[in-house]
Amino acid sequence: MTFLKLGFRSLFRQKRRTTLTLVVITFGVGCLLLTMGHTAFVEWGLKESTIHSETGHLQIFNTAYFENEEDLILEHGLHNHAVIESALNQMLDVQLVQARTNLMGLISNGDKSVAFVGQAVEPEKEKQLRMMFFSSGASFDSLIAYQQEEDCVILGKGLAESLKVEPGDWVTLMTNTADGALNAIDVKVVDTVQSGSSELDKRLVRIPMRTAGMLLNSDKVEKLLVTLDDTEKTEAMYEKITDWARRNNYSITVRRWYEQTRYYHQVRQFFFQITGFISIILFIIVFFSTSNTIMMSIVERTREIGTLLSVGTSRFQTIKMFAFEGLFLGLIGGLLSIAFGYVLSNGINSLNITLPPPPGMLNEYQLSVRTEAVFYIPVFIVTVAVTIVSSLLPAMRVTRMKIVDALGHI
């Protein structure tokens, strides 16, 4: 307790120096929290937009889909998807169940044929899925409007430009059917879309499930997407659906959203590396700043250290005193950093700043910074740990200090 008291009070001997150190810690760590907050927002946004546009929370496949290579499209598709969908819709927490099939083939305007990447979708449900996460889903409106009247598609903007077609024009889709024959179908282009990736837009064709069924000559679907009311429930629902399938002898495999999106993990890893690098730099600055403060303090208090040692304080106790000084610097600095980071983050959020689209993307996005205990607490702990270690190193000088020399220090 005495050494805690000594450590704490010693902080206020050189108020200006302590203040400067605290400013360095607060500004450095506060800015780190800001960076982490923004990264967390981007990661969260990417996660939720991936779920609410590409993967859903869970995907259900025929188990054979993963066990055997398909020789023909939909060879291992879900044939009983309507029954499964109906059962899943009864489950609490399930918001949406929809079918999807990916297909590939050639698209032609009569003069030019190019390869396409097709997504067979249920347009109403695709719109509904996107509307769950800050999106209008308006890109599916044309499909919804025309799919009952005629066979129609939406093309990626790049693909439409490549084929020189516009909404209202007709194109031909060619692909293999589920039984291996070659099939073609004329479809009307009802709209063009920007998916967010300019590369994908050069190949993208969205086609209603009914039309795709005709093209592929099959009523199977590749997979079912299950969307929940909360991403946090993914694991619980995974267990529940797996258990339900086992009990009902359905040969299906359930995959969670994060098992189906490599891009999300790559981006996350990229952000992790950037944030890690910034963290290392900032904590090195904090380390040297604190170390310098404690070193100056030790030099100035050499005679006092000599006095403490001469009255029977052990060297370990003396080092402990400086470690406590570092601890308090860390605690105060850490708390100030959290306050600074929190206020700054909320300040930035309230300004509604819009940033240009990231490379490869098309849409602007709003600068937003998250304030979450999940990274505030670890950063606080690391700040305290760094200041303790950075005060221990100069304090080790005490172990080499001769009492007589220390007492004679001017």
């Binding site: 005495t2 000594l6 005679r303 040692l309 029977g312 007492l407």
Partner: protein, 232 residues
């Protein structure tokens, strides 16, 4: 036969100045007895402070043996010196050396905390000592708020509160005016009469006169040891 609280046998100590060895003490043999009021006198550079440092176990001899009570602490056996300093020795410094962030009460209490004395007992002992040294009304003051004489009283109280075998004082009145110096000396004499052993250095003839035993050093050697029991 009087009990020797500390015994020096053929103790030598030298310091290095560049590549030259400067002898500070040469083959000094000395005993400090319980209840002594011993003054180490001599001109500057005679080895007074070195002798005090060695008695106080804050420096190591090059050769010879130092025995504190029944414990021989020379010949590299300094590992336990910290505990001996904590439990059996008290220090009064020429420049007071109080801990500036602690108030008077806390400064005096500090050695008792190191010894692990219970809080209620510490309070009792510190209050007793502050009353004895006339600092009771100043117990909440920080050292910077005290005069030189008051600071030295705190230093003495800090040294004596743990009831050590010996209190060492290096020129305790050197930084004080003559009147305050006399007051400090009187306080030390009073405490000595209560049984505390004092060993202190001085080159002030007025102070030296008050010693019951005076060890005169010259060039690191003991020149004379005068016994002045009659002054009591």
């Amino acid at each position: 036969m009087r009990y020797a609280q500390i015994r020096f046998e053929q103790v030598s100590k030298s310091y290095k100045l560049g590549k030259t060895d400067i002898p500070a003490l040469r083959n000094v043999s000395l005993e400090v007895h319980k209840g002594d009021f011993l003054v180490i006198a001599g001109p500057s550079g005679s080895g007074k402070t070195t002798l005090l440092n060695l008695i106080g176990l804050i420096d190591r001899p090059d050769s010879g043996t130092i025995t504190l009570g029944d414990t021989t602490v020379s010949n590299g056996a300094f590992a336990s010196a910290s505990a001996l300093r904590r439990d059996r020795l008290g220090y009064v410094f020429q420049t007071f050396n109080l801990i500036p962030v602690l108030n008077v009460y806390e400064n005096v209490e500090y050695p008792l905390i190191l010894q692990g004395v219970e809080k209620y007992r510490r309070k009792e002992l510190v209050h007793q000592m502050l009353k004895k040294t006339g600092l009771y009304s100043r117990m909440k003051h920080k050292p910077r708020e005290l005069s030189g004489g008051q600071r030295q009283r705190v230093s003495i109280a800090r040294a004596v509160v743990k009831n050590p075998d010996i209190v060492l004082a290096d020129e305790p009145t050197a930084n004080l005016d003559s009147g305050t110096g006399k007051e400090i000396l009187s306080l030390m004499q009073e405490l000595n009469e209560e049984g505390i052993t004092f060993v202190f250095s001085s080159h002030d003839p007025v102070i030296i006169e008050k010693g019951r035993r005076v060890v005169k050093l010259h060039d690191g050697c003991i020149q004379t040891i005068e016994e002045r029991e009659e002054q009591q």
